[in-house]
């Protein structure tokens, strides 16, 4: 057979590596800022753009899609070419992919800071960016499959199975979850409402973790770990079983984010059991990684990149064991809505994604630049500082989460709540401080790495023209009789793509179809009515300011929550919530029953200066809501969009909307005046108060009066 010569595209790999390094620092800085704001609310600099509710989505999006995203592409572009013995399909597509992805990130950062958000976690980007993501993702897939088709290696290595699974599943998740109705260029409403929106969102949210943070990185592990350790992969059989089991089971587990909420019981139970079944497939990856190092542990000692890999894989094992535990209802009861979850995801993000990326960078950059790492010593210091950083980050907030939950649930013997919500906030402050120090250490380590890598790049020569050779694939292929049955699909990339899609689609379909079609899953409540135009505007402000990043709107059926907040939430209450705003973290108290709990003036004062109404509060001030005029120009568009989503406003209501709005605003302004607060009725604060006073009131109306007059 004649050998064909070809060149690898190292330039795109280099660009993605630079982007990974750059965005890692941006993402971590945003995280550190958010962490500091939890005990020092003034750290928002008193401007809307840097307030927690906007910084937190910037942090999560930057880490997931910018840092890890570029890390994925860096690894894929490097390993794919070498595993297939082919140059990337098209340099032009590579270019579009790289610059398109960076454009998305920049747009994301700008729009999130400006408050353009859909209000759905990890899918906050508005519809124009969603479309852009879809296009760039398709370009990535096109480029990848083009390369696969032109390969000189008959069979696809396990890393590529993971890349294919990632590509098709992320495409499915992104499209299904992002279906929304545009109102203006930067504003849209989720197609789904309430319980259904929650199910779709957490199907997406959970699998963003699974198919953006996990499967592509497992693919990277399968390439870079054996390369670094120069050892064969431990078990081919294990690869097969854990790959298929992982992608099949993962997709079902979304509802474990919604335990004890108003989602149907059967969906919750599916979430529980599929999470438990995930332990083994996840650990399959860890075992295959760690046991690949059999007989090479002496190399781990000398190779800093391998050290990072080992800790990354171990952190992956810990996080994927803890995950199923957190999905058990008995544990979830304690952990959910607290910092425990935050600690859990950071073991994954800092340990697994962070360390694996660092490991790959330390290995890859010297190779791309044909030199040695500038300083092994500095890299080792980075390793220790970052490890310490993770411990210092995670341990305090594990403790904090556990203690906060225990305090929430504590009753006196007389049957009263032992602690006010504020007591728990005060208790947490020292832990928040310790956690931010852990984060600072981790960031310091990352900066050291970047300095180290820049120096390496400076002394090296970029390996632009890397030539390799391999024989072309023969047209005919005859399988060996002794081959494993799985070899068949490894030769057939398109079949692999289709089978993967079927495997990942099953779970979603089985969970969604009944939730959308069977009426008994969301029993109708007659007294629940659509929001008034003013309330709708207020709700949009609530979403814009990212209130959901700290406040939940979901009273779970527990004694303490019913005592603290009121009647537990029912599925039928959320049918007009596009998008749902249940939240996932209770840094501040739940708001599902806040309507009518305080006077209007309380809310006004509280938004202006939270600690005046709630001494000890760590909520930032929102003075701009009081000054800024409400943008009412899109009121009609909003009502029309809602009507298209099936919200039953009367025919032609959009024409009366402005009048209704004015009436309600004047009423609130008058009620504020009674308590000595002068404000114009057209300010944003008035709309927000209208919304806050409405939340959870529709079903309260029936039974609160009788109670008060007892």
């Amino acid at each position: 057979m004649e050998l064909q010569k070809f060149q690898y595209d190292n330039k795109t790999v280099k660009l993605f590596a630079y982007a990974t390094m750059f965005w890692s620092i941006v993402g971590m800085l945003a995280g550190l800022l958010a962490a500091i704001q939890l005990y020092l609310p003034e750290a928002n600099f008193n401007i809307p753009f840097t307030t927690f509710g906007r910084v937190r989505p910037v942090h999560t999006n930057a880490i997931i899609f910018a840092f890890v995203g570029n890390g994925i592409f860096m690894g894929v572009y490097y390993s794919l070419q070498r595993l297939l013995k082919a140059r990337m399909f098209s340099d032009f597509l590579s270019k579009i992919h790289f610059w398109g992805w960076q454009l998305i990130i920049v747009l994301a950062a700008i729009t999130l800071v400006l408050g353009y958000t859909t209000g759905k976690e990890y899918a906050e980007l508005e519809w124009p960016i969603d479309i852009l993501i879809t296009i760039v993702w398709v370009v990535f897939g096109w480029n990848m499959f083009g390369t696969i088709i032109r390969r000189r290696e008959r069979h696809l290595y396990v890393a590529i199975w993971f890349y294919i699974g990632t590509f098709i599943t992320v495409a499915m998740l992104h499209i299904v979850n992002s279906i929304e109705i545009p109102v203006t260029f930067w504003k849209s409403y989720s197609w789904y409402a309430g319980v259904q929106d929650a199910l779709v969102q957490w199907w997406y949210g959970h699998n963003a973790v699974a198919f953006f943070l996990t499967t592509p990185y497992l693919g990277l592990m399968y390439y870079f770990l054996p390369k670094m350790a120069q050892r064969p992969v431990y078990s081919y059989r294990l690869s097969i079983i854990h790959f298929w089991a992982l992608i099949f089971l993962y997709i079902w587990a979304g509802p474990h984010h919604l335990l004890y909420t108003s989602t149907p019981d059967w969906a919750q139970s599916l979430g529980v059991v599929f999470s438990v079944m995930l332990i083994a497939p996840s650990w399959g990856g860890m075992i295959n990684g760690l046991l690949t190092l059999r007989g090479a542990w002496d190399r781990v000692r000398d190779n800093v990149a391998l050290k990072f890999m080992v800790v990354a894989i171990t952190a992956y094992g810990m996080a994927t064991f803890e995950g199923p535990l957190l999905s058990l209802k008995a544990v979830n009861k304690i952990s959910h809505f607290t910092d425990w979850t935050i600690a859990h995801v950071h073991v994954g993000a800092l340990g697994w994604n962070g360390f694996l990326t660092f490991g790959v960078l330390y290995w890859l950059i010297p190779r791309l630049f044909q030199t040695k790492l500038y300083s092994e010593k500095m890299a080792n210091q980075h390793f220790w500082i970052a490890t310490l950083g993770i411990v210092l980050y995670a341990v305090p907030i594990y403790w904090a989460g556990f203690m906060q939950s225990s305090m929430w649930k504590d009753f006196t013997e007389e049957g009263q709540l032992k602690y006010q919500f504020m007591d728990t906030v005060t208790y947490l402050k020292p832990f928040y401080i310790a956690r931010s120090i852990g984060g600072l250490l981790y960031l310091t380590g990352a900066i050291m790495m970047i300095v180290n890598l820049i120096k390496t790049i400076k002394i090296g020569n970029f390996h632009e023209v890397e030539t390799d050779s391999a024989p072309a694939l023969a047209k005919e292929y005859k399988a060996h009789a002794t081959d494993h049955w799985h070899r068949w699909i490894e030769r057939k990339p398109i079949q692999m793509l289709i089978v993967s899609l079927i495997v990942v689609a099953i779970g979603g379909i089985i969970e969604f179809v009944p939730a959308f079609l069977v009426k008994s899953n969301i029993p109708t409540i007659q007294s629940v009515k659509p929001y008034t135009p003013l309330e709708l505007h207020g709700r949009d402000i609530y979403v814009r300011e990212g209130c959901y990043t700290c406040h939940t709107q979901m009273v779970r059926p527990f004694r303490d929550e019913v005592a603290r907040y009121g009647e537990y939430s029912k599925a039928g209450e959320f049918v007009y919530d596009h998008p749902f705003q249940w939240g996932s973290k209770r840094t501040g108290p739940d708001l599902a029953r806040v309507g009518g709990k305080y006077p209007d003036s309380w809310h006004f004062n509280h938004m202006y200066e939270p600690s005046s109404m709630a001494p000890g509060s760590i909520m930032p001030r929102y003075p701009w809501l009081i000054e800024d005029q409400l943008n009412a120009t899109n009121t009609i568009a909003k009502i029309k969009a809602m009507k298209r989503l099936g919200v039953p406003y009367p025919d032609g209501y959009e024409n009366n909307a402005l009048k209704d709005m004015e009436k309600q605003a004047n009423k609130i302004a008058a009620s504020l005046k009674k308590d000595g607060i002068e404000t114009l009725p057209d300010r944003e604060i008035v709309a927000l108060i209208a919304y806050l006073q409405r939340i959870g009131k529709d079903i309260k109306a029936n039974n609160s009066k009788s109670q008060a007059n007892k």
């Binding site: 431990y234 081919y236 046991l291 009263q416 779970r556 004694r559 305080y598 109404m613 109670q707 007892k710």
Partner: protein, 385 residues
């Protein structure tokens, strides 16, 4: 010798949860240390450290045995580790005993001090042991580094081999697949049995779980679970109330004059009421409590009721889930004691005139009379509008 020590360790490990279990059975009735979060946390730390120590010492032993150079040190290390482990075991069990026999209502964090300090002591010992192990580990590694010529083959222990069912590293050529992906080869080792059976087990769990909750419907789903939780809580509170004198309601409440109790009422007031009614009752977003006008009645019973049940539609929440009946009585009496104190910045009267002993009289719409701006907030751009 090696097997012996492992057996002993396993025995210890097996025994400790067993003893836990036995003890738990006997002490189930009265509240014990096991319901104490601090105890549980300390216990998990102890167990976790123990596991780490065992893992570490096994690894250490493997390295030590695989290396001929430092065989002399080995016996010493093993001896020390063993002794220390036994010490820990003893403390561990004794601390457990101490913990479960304690009443668990005094001392540190709800634990009696004896248990607390024993457990802390155990943790410290474990940490010291771990540090020693770490030092030994480093020492061994350094020794190895100094002899780079020698190729060290780490032979795995029997336990590891049985757990993974792996082909030994020396013989792996046998299961090496012929594919070569950019220099990466693959072995075809068996699935680790524990992993495989663990996977089966989780699948069985999944079926049992779904049948238990959704087919046989034995398990309580969340609505039912909530009802049960509330029922048990209600029983407990009722039982407690029968025994305690701390039980007043709107029908039995009497004005308290005892200075200490009024002081207690003031504490409750400052903590919970002052943000809305002012530090001295002058009223901010809530009404003034020092004048003779009341929106919902000024008698002690009526004040008590307003606090207990709230006036939800006016922004006064019900406090019965936060304050005990006696606390409500205290704070009501404190509020009554504010009457006529005339604090500065008092909010204008709202509601009906109430005079002690007499019936409430004419309604009065105070808002028309004197507008009041105690908490008017200055807006930065107010002047421009």
């Amino acid at each position: 010798m090696k097997k012996n020590s492992i057996l002993k360790l396993l025995g210890l490990l097996m025994l400790s949860p067993l003893s836990l279990f036995c003890q738990e059975q006997t002490i189930q009735k009265n509240p014990s240390a096991f319901s104490n979060p601090l105890f549980l946390v300390l216990l998990s730390v102890i167990i976790l450290l123990l596991i780490v120590i065992i893992a570490f010492s096994t690894a250490l032993k493997n390295i030590a045995e695989s290396d001929l150079l430092i065989k002399n040190n080995k016996t010493n290390n093993a001896q020390i580790s063993k002794t220390l482990l036994f010490l820990i075991g003893t403390f561990f069990v004794s601390s457990l005993n101490a913990a479960v026999t304690s009443k668990g209502n005094s001392g540190i964090g709800g634990l009696d001090s004896m248990t607390f300090y024993t457990m802390i002591f155990v943790i410290i010992i474990e940490l010291i042991l771990l540090t020693t192990l770490l030092f030994q580990f480093n020492y061994l590694l350094k020794q190895k580094k100094s002899t780079p010529e020698k190729v060290v083959k780490l032979s795995e222990t029997k336990i590891v081999m049985t757990l993974t069912d792996a082909v030994p590293v020396e013989e792996e050529e046998r299961i090496l697949l012929e594919h070569d992906y950019d220099g990466i080869r693959e072995l075809d080792n068996n699935l680790p049995p524990w992993w495989k059976y663990g996977f089966y087990l989780t699948i069985v769990f999944a079926f049992v779980y779904m049948i238990y909750y959704h087919v046989a419907e034995i398990g309580e789903l969340q609505d039912k679970e909530f009802e049960t939780e509330m029922k048990i809580a209600k029983q407990k509170v009722e039982e407690h109330m029968k025994k305690s004198a701390n039980n007043v309601d709107e029908n039995t409440v009497k004005l308290i004059t005892d200075a200490n109790e009024i002081e207690a009422g003031k504490g409750v007031y400052i903590a919970n009421c002052a943000v809305c009614h002012g530090k001295v009752g002058e009223g901010t977003v809530g009404p003034n409590l020092t004048d003779s006008y009341w929106l919902h009645g000024g008698s002690l019973t009526e004040v008590f009721k307003s606090i207990k049940y709230g006036w939800v539609e006016k922004g006064m929440k019900s406090w019965k889930e936060d304050l005990s009946p006696i606390q409500i009585a205290q704070v009501s009496s404190f509020i009554k004691s504010l009457s006529g104190t005339n604090p500065p910045n008092g909010k204008a009267p709202q509601g009906d005139l109430y005079s002690e002993g007499g019936a409430s009289t004419s309604s009065k719409d105070s808002l028309l009379k004197q507008p009041n701006d105690t908490i008017k907030i200055k807006l930065p751009n107010e002047s421009t509008k």
